[in-house]
Subunit: 398 residues, 2 copies
């Protein structure tokens, strides 16, 4: 509400619950304090389930436990199991525990503790009818690294148990590169909207788009075959994987190794690849050659090439990729040099210009130019995304 924190919980929880066929009816953000309890009082009479996040920490502005107890008309009592889990969290890390952490063990009377392996604040589950309301309430920690595993491992199983099993919707997430949302609309909208019981959603991110198909098995299968017929070539995952996961898996399956030589992306390609568990099977080393001297020292790019063509050029990109391949003894090397901005552009090479080169052990080197002028931050994300997609296109055929 103060402009300092983006609400990423809302969208993430909405997406996860949709996979169970459950819809979020309303999402509300209120300030710390009595507004929490006031909002809960209202929500308790209108809803079947309430998920509350944040305000479970040890400090004076963490009032969610107190406000929830007030809204439900329950007392707060110290929970022995919660005391133990909090003490364990600290002792297992050889950390001393400030006394105030035990505030986090006070729960509305009769509530269940939800363990939080990622942090000190336990979650809280208040089953329906415990107070006077027929509504289940979950209190969840605020940090995404604590909230997300708790939702997946603890909340969803309880919601599944609460739900009478009707026909659940299923969801298929297909991920595409280099396709615009309007391409899908133009080609698919009429046919998809003719499929009964199908819901279609798009989620476009820089350089990437997800298509979500929601419905029963038959509707999803029909829709999927339509989508594959038209855009199958551009689909890199039907299992909600990232492009780096797909690249690492494909390289690993084929016994190939990749090497990176990055200028304008500054290590972000290597960082994305090594986000994937098992990356060490396919990635030995990467070079971040930001300065011209680094390009020549580490990759053997000739000073002549840099001086006559500029660091952002076909010649330098190709020399970077070939130098990295030679030195690293990998099967594929990817190099990138460009102008991320905001400064450094010229008339010939405006901010957003990027040269990409991919060298293969077979001797082939593919070098091409792209242009992405949407600001420094987006530039890096889009360039990395597109390079990884290009690598995947090349290696899947090998």
């Amino acid at each position: 509400l103060l402009g300092t924190t983006l609400n990423t919980h809302g969208a993430w929880i909405g997406g996860e619950l949709l996979k169970l066929g459950l819809r979020v009816r309303r999402q509300v953000t209120v300030p710390d304090g009595e507004a929490i309890g006031d909002e809960l009082k209202r929500a308790l009479v209108e809803n079947d389930v309430i998920l509350v996040s944040g305000g479970l920490g040890p400090t004076s502005d963490d009032l969610t436990r107190e406000e929830t107890a007030r809204a439900l008309g329950l007392d707060l009592i110290e929970d022995e199991f919660a005391v133990r889990t909090i003490k364990d969290f600290f002792s297992s890390r050889n950390m001393s525990m400030a006394e105030c952490n035990l505030k986090q063990a006070f729960l509305p009377c009769g509530a269940d503790v939800i363990p939080n392996p990622q942090g000190t604040a336990p979650g809280v589950y208040i089953p329906p009818r415990l107070g006077e309301f027929n509504c289940a309430v979950f209190l969840l920690p605020g940090p995404p690294s604590e909230l997300r595993p708790m939702v997946l491992n603890e909340v969803i199983p309880r919601l599944q148990a609460l739900t009478e099993d009707g026909e659940l919707s299923e969801m298929l997430v297909m991920k595409f590169f280099s396709v615009g949302e309007s391409d899908f609309h133009a080609v698919l909208d009429d046919d998809l909207s003719a499929i009964a019981g199908l819901e279609v959603g798009y989620c476009a991110r820089p350089g990437d788009i997800d298509l979500r198909l929601i419905g029963n098995k038959a509707a999803i299968a029909e829709a999927r075959s339509l989508v594959v017929k038209n855009f199958g070539e551009k689909c890199y995952s039907e299992a909600d994987e990232t492009i780096e996961q797909v690249v690492v898996k494909t390289l690993s399956d084929k016994g190939m190794k990749i090497c990176t030589a990055e200028s304008c992306t500054g290590g972000a390609i290597a960082a994305r690849l090594t986000d994937v568990s098992g990356a060490s099977k396919v990635f030995d080393r990467g070079y971040v050659t930001y300065a011209n001297s680094a390009k020549s020292d580490l990759l053997g790019v000739s000073n002549d090439d840099i001086e006559s063509n500029g660091a952002v050029s076909e010649e330098v990109a190709a020399a970077m990729a070939e130098g990295a391949l030679k030195d690293a003894n990998a099967d594929i090397a990817v190099a990138v040099t460009g102008i991320a901005g905001p400064s450094g552009g010229t008339e010939d090479k405006p901010v957003g210009t990027v040269w990409i080169s991919i060298a293969l052990k077979s001797g082939e080197t593919i070098t091409y130019k792209e242009y992405h002028s949407r600001g420094r931050e987006i530039f890096k994300i889009v360039v990395v995304q597109r390079i990884l997609a290009k690598v995947w296109q090349l290696i899947r055929e090998k």
Copy 2:
């Protein structure tokens, strides 16, 4: 609500209004349809101003105008000025206008049109007391590219006119490393809560915590001096900067260059540094040495050191940093080798173990071990954050 769109309006609007000393009391997301009018009916009696975004387009699921009129008990009538602005939008772009666009000219009776130079859907302003409610309502388009200029150019001046000028709140955001939320609580809570008119908020992220002080100038100044006295050493920014921005700025001010040698962080330190515009002044090159062979080939780490101590060891971390410093001719080199997991841990060196070494041109090398066992994704974020903070601590004194 379906997980496909992140709500960026909430935080952005909250931040802009705070600059005027106005607080967002509540932020609600509801689905298309009657939920809009139902929510408005409730909000109209509780609030002074309501900003509504989205649902102003020409299609059948765009119901915000209709639902607002219903909640206010007003008729929808075609507004001549709105018709003209919509027609002008198309004619000025030499585009033909689909008839359905004129749906966007129907406004609650007595409302003002807010021009939208960025799109076809005009905004709508319904002044207080126009219906039976003493509440101003703004209807704003959904796309950020249309909403943001409309808020800045049209909404804020009207809000300033509505506001009786009291004393405006200000906000100071202080950012800290290596301080737990409970540390603040234990040391500061009593003293801070004694300051009249001060609001305190915390936002904890992996390896990082923000403290927000909100109130009048005097209250903030008093609070700040308390905080600085106790935690000043750990405060890296009072201007809402990231740690990488602070590191790049400090290096730049001191004319120093940094080099990175990364194993378990896989290029993420370099990527974070080069996210900062101007990083090229302080960063020439980085090494991503994921495999043991890369550590010896690129950084001159001896095979003996690796074999006798393991790749995740004090000796290898220090050799990586010293090798990078020598080769890169930088003033400071930072090296990191660890076990990100989920596999690769041993009894001696469990998943989460990380050795960090920082070598300085002056000849000093600082090598230390940390342990972060919160999963691969968090591991990388925390390690990078803490290394950057450590680098900043070292260089600010140079």
